[in-house]
């Protein structure tokens, strides 16, 4: 292992190490501690300028309740869920099929198609902004509905997910598919009965990753929806920032609430998350 494992070092060195790590962590997360602390304050504290001292009285329950009662935060959260879950499911479905096709079949244009998906994945998505918005306004009348976001996320994320799934399926032994083929199993049944069960780990990793990507999206939420009935929590939070300017305790609580689902997902499915993120970081 590199650096040298500390187990081999003196207890003193280990203690020093723990000290250094703790302090680094504290500094690293300082902005978050600040916001968490503020979300527990009373408005009085803030207007008296007590931004950084210990809160004079804790208002955790009040503040977090107020976020939901004084704003459409609940609605925003619901919208985010309604956008994220179908988008993740759709992306996985579409890209697993495409990834399987690209990994398992030889046909003309395979590599070109694969390259197109990769390239599309890297496109600065702002380029797509005007046409995609026009598309939803004029052609597919879904502008300002959650479905516009669902559809677009599925389409755009397909680039990355197809790359991911294709490479994953490519790593599976060809023999698994060929054995089934020799036994007369139809191609679509092979996909369903052989490949799908085998890609479960990849699906889990992608699902977690895509959940946070889509949940955290802000740009498209800004471009494709605008009313409270469709707005996800990221854009909602930004809209509330105007309304809550003086109420930092609500702003902080709202920010933490908006971040909570992806944090929960991350900690619950950390292994999959990191497996997904670091795919390709190990081998060349």
């Amino acid at each position: 292992m590199f650096p040298t494992p500390l187990q081999k070092q003196s207890p003193g060195a280990r203690g020093l190490y723990r000290g250094v790590v703790s302090i680094s962590l504290l500094v690293w997360l300082l902005p978050l501690f600040a916001i968490a602390l503020t979300s527990t304050r009373s408005l009085d504290d803030l207007s008296r300028g007590n931004y950084w001292g210990w809160p004079t009285d804790l208002r955790i329950a009040e503040n977090y309740t107020a976020v939901f009662t004084s704003s459409p935060m609940g609605r925003y959260l619901l919208n985010s869920v309604v956008i994220t879950l179908p988008a993740v499911a759709g992306t996985l479905a579409v890209s697993t099929m495409a990834g399987f096709a690209l990994a398992q079949y030889r046909f003309r244009g395979n590599i070109a198609l694969f390259a197109t998906f990769i390239a599309g994945n890297f496109v600065p998505f702002q380029v797509l902004m005007i046409p995609v918005r026009n598309l939803f306004v004029h052609v597919i009348p879904l502008y300002d509905t959650v479905w516009a976001l669902v559809l677009f996320h599925i389409a755009f994320q397909t680039g990355f997910c197809t790359l991911f799934m294709r490479n994953f399926i490519r790593e599976l032994p060809d023999a698994l598919v060929e054995a089934a083929r020799i036994e007369g199993v139809g191609e679509l049944r092979i996909f369903w009965h052989v490949v799908l069960p085998l890609v479960r780990p990849a699906l889990a990793a992608l699902a977690v990753l895509e959940f946070t990507f889509i949940w955290n999206d802000y740009f498209w939420a800004l471009v494709l929806v605008q009313s409270d009935t469709a707005r996800p929590v990221t854009a909602g939070l930004q809209a509330l920032a105007g309304q809550w300017l003086a109420s930092w305790q609500l702003m902080s609580a709202g920010a933490l609430i908006a971040a909570a689902p992806s944090i929960v997902i991350f900690f619950a499915m950390q292994r999959h998350f990191i497996a997904g993120l670091t795919l390709g970081a190990v081998k060349e």
Binding site: V137, H138, I140, P141, D228, G242, A246
Partner: protein, 410 residues
């Protein structure tokens, strides 16, 4: 884009066939997402529906900021029957391509007199009316009377009074002028007022309509006056990183003396500060100019593509009525456009009504009087000028370049 257009047409046609809007339904788009406007229009709709049995109003409430861009989408694709919008140049840009309906029929001799010509002008294009004004509000200096008194500042009637006030407040350890320029537009209030007081309405209108160069000596004169304010250290220091909402707390906490802003600020004044915050008209610079004030006027319009124009006209006629405007503006805490409606009992509104009553001309504010494109560039220039006054030449050259581009293509 041909494909888009064709498909769009197909989509619209199929939309018409698939979902015929029930007779008696009005689709009403508004930007009333903030609590007070929301309450006001919910009440309006309720009363209208009560008075017109069989007509139902379906409201689509949008957020104030995004409304400005989204209106372009639905006006051209799936227009509602009625929409809230602004008067003046902002309205004209939709009238020119034929997106808004002529509603002159509503302005009969009896109703016409209920609106002052200066208000009516803002919804009139080629002698035809394209909207019904229902509300407006005044701009001016909202000032901490207690602090001004403490610092020995008297009435601020003239430019020199203003400069003097800055010095005295500064000496008393108070930031003279509160400003949040992160949103850019608050700077335009200063530009508009200095220009209006210095060069007058005619010149200002020529400028906002793109007919005068931004490098005109008269414009430079505006900035020369503005520079005096900077030299007298009138403005708070960190205005570039504050939004107008963030900046207002300085006023309430007694750290700043005054703020040039619209009447909407009064919605947020805390009870304990209200007694000490007064309203005054922007001081005079050039004596003898006809009084002009900033008074953004809101109106209600019918898109040309509306499906239920008959009922839409009813709603406009309803919004035109003095009694309705009285109630709406009471909740909005703004001034009714109908001069027979009653101004609600609020000292800021009373002051505003008085100020605007004597005004000869009204302007809509820079970003509504000129193209949004030019306004954005100009307001960024104002902000830059306030931080780096030495860059004035470059700033003006940049705005002028934009003016030439924008008004040449029209």
């Amino acid at each position: 884009m041909h494909l888009t257009r064709t498909l769009a047409a197909a989509a619209v046609v199929s939309g018409l066939l698939a979902a015929p809007v029930a007779a008696g339904t009005i689709v009403f788009n508004t930007d009333t997402s903030d609590p007070q406007p929301k309450a006001a229009f919910e009440a309006v709709v309720k009363q209208f529906e009560a008075e017109n049995p069989g007509v139902t109003v379906k409201m689509n409430v949008y957020d104030h900021e995004s409304y400005k861009s989204s209106i372009r989408n639905w006006l051209t694709s799936a227009p509602p029957d009625v929409a809230l919008w602004y008067s003046g140049a902002r309205m004209r840009q939709f009238v020119t391509p034929g997106l808004l309906e002529d509603v002159s029929a509503l302005f009969t001799p009896e109703t016409r007199v209920q609106f002052s010509p200066k208000v009516l002008d803002t919804v009139t294009v080629d002698d035809k009316q394209f909207g019904v004004p229902y509300s407006y509000y005044q701009w001016g200096l909202f000032a901490r009377t207690d602090l001004l008194q403490k610092a020995g500042v008297g009435d601020i009637k003239t430019w020199d009074d203003l400069l003097g006030a800055c010095d005295k407040l500064r000496a008393a350890g108070i930031e003279p002028v509160d400003l949040g320029s992160k949103d850019l537009w608050p700077t335009a209030g200063w530009f508009d007022y200095i220009d209006l007081r210095l060069n007058g309405y005619e010149f200002h209108t020529q400028l906002t309509e793109g007919r005068v160069s931004w490098q005109d000596p008269k414009v430079r004169d505006v900035f020369a006056h503005w520079k005096q304010l900077l030299d007298h250290q009138c403005f708070i220091k960190n205005h570039t990183s504050l939004s107008w909402q963030e900046s207002q707390s300085l006023l309430y906490q007694g750290k700043a003396g005054m703020m040039l802003i619209g009447n909407f600020i009064t919605q947020g004044i805390p009870a304990d500060a209200a007694a000490n915050i007064g309203f005054m008209t922007f001081p005079t610079i050039t004596a003898g100019l006809p009084q002009t004030e900033e008074a953004p006027i809101e109106s209600i319009n019918i898109p040309t593509g509306a499906k239920n124009k008959a009922d839409a006209m009813k709603l406009l006629a309803f919004m035109m009525r003095a009694d309705v405007q009285t109630t709406v503006n009471k909740t909005l805490r703004q001034l009714p456009a109908n001069n027979q409606a009653q101004v609600s009992d609020d000292r800021y509104l009373k002051a505003g009504a008085a100020q605007l009553g004597t005004a000869v001309h009204l302007t809509q504010f820079l970003d509504r009087d000129t193209s949004e494109d030019l306004a954005t560039i100009a307001m960024k220039g104002f902000q830059e000028f306030m931080v780096k006054p030495e860059r004035l030449d470059a700033v003006l050259a940049n705005i002028e370049r934009a003016r030439k581009r924008i008004y040449a293509s029209n």
